[in-house]
Symmetry: C2
Subunit: 160 residues, 2 copies
């Protein structure tokens, strides 16, 4: 571990965009997203939102739209539209919840499961390729940092 006394991520008198952490993070996220779009959008004709909903339904088996909103980071309109498109393409099915008929219970179809099984290994391989540049220790730090920063970022957003 580098223990020089030069602190990481600091700033000189003049604001430098290229050293600004939110900017660097946004660039990285955008670059990765553009690469992933080439997979699920171009090859499989899924939008990012549809991919997230499909993954959520695949993972949870049966889920209410509300549950998916919590686990995908989408809002209710994005989720509603992604669900509608996935149902139209027969990748998921919707049925009423007998216990509360406002809810729609979503389930993945065999076709949806096959589609997900095609895409998941590809995007996981890309993730693995990305993370290959980091050591195990560096990955652990990154893993922990993402969670800690996420909490702080949500706090900042709430406070305005």
């Amino acid at each position: 571990m580098d223990s020089s006394d030069k602190p990481a991520i600091t700033h000189p008198a003049v604001f430098q965009l290229a050293k600004f952490f939110p900017y660097r993070l946004n660039r990285l996220s955008a670059t990765i997203s553009e690469g992933l779009q080439q997979v699920y959008a171009q090859r499989f004709e899924l939008s990012r939102d549809e991919w997230r909903i499909l993954s959520g339904v695949n993972e949870h088996g049966r889920a209410k739209t509300t549950d998916l909103i919590a686990s995908t980071g989408l809002d209710k309109m994005q989720a509603s539209r992604a669900v509608a498109r996935l149902e139209e393409a027969s990748y998921i099915s919707r049925e009423a919840d007998p216990e509360d008929r406002r809810n729609r219970i979503l389930a993945i179809t065999p076709a949806g499961r096959r589609l997900h099984a095609q895409i998941a290994p590809i995007v996981l391989a890309r993730e693995a390729f990305l993370l290959e540049v980091l050591s195990d220790d560096e990955r652990r730090v990154l893993d922990k940092a993402l969670d800690a920063l996420q909490q702080r970022a949500e706090q900042l957003r709430r406070q305005g």
Copy 2:
């Protein structure tokens, strides 16, 4: 440093969106961006693109649009429009380059400099608040990881 043999960022048989690195990174980046928009958009009526261009011109003193495209991550249309709006608001000025009259040389105006000087301390304070949760060593790892991942991500995007 944690040296248990449990590797960081791995996956079980079922694809879990919440553990997928690109997803987590995107959520973090989006949350931070939404917080920052509250500053430069709501308080100062600047879009993210305008903020980037303003920062670039502030940093480099005089710059061609082409230089700014490289240093802001924007494409030429986004840059052209952000430049036009900033000029209309008198935050930057444009003049012809005598050496190549296709170029426009951009410079920040006193009003632009004042605006930037108002915003920069606020967003830097937010960045500092975010990074406070990390130790110096963790920040160094993160700093290095962002650069390494950015290179890999660009490689992936190029390869398709």
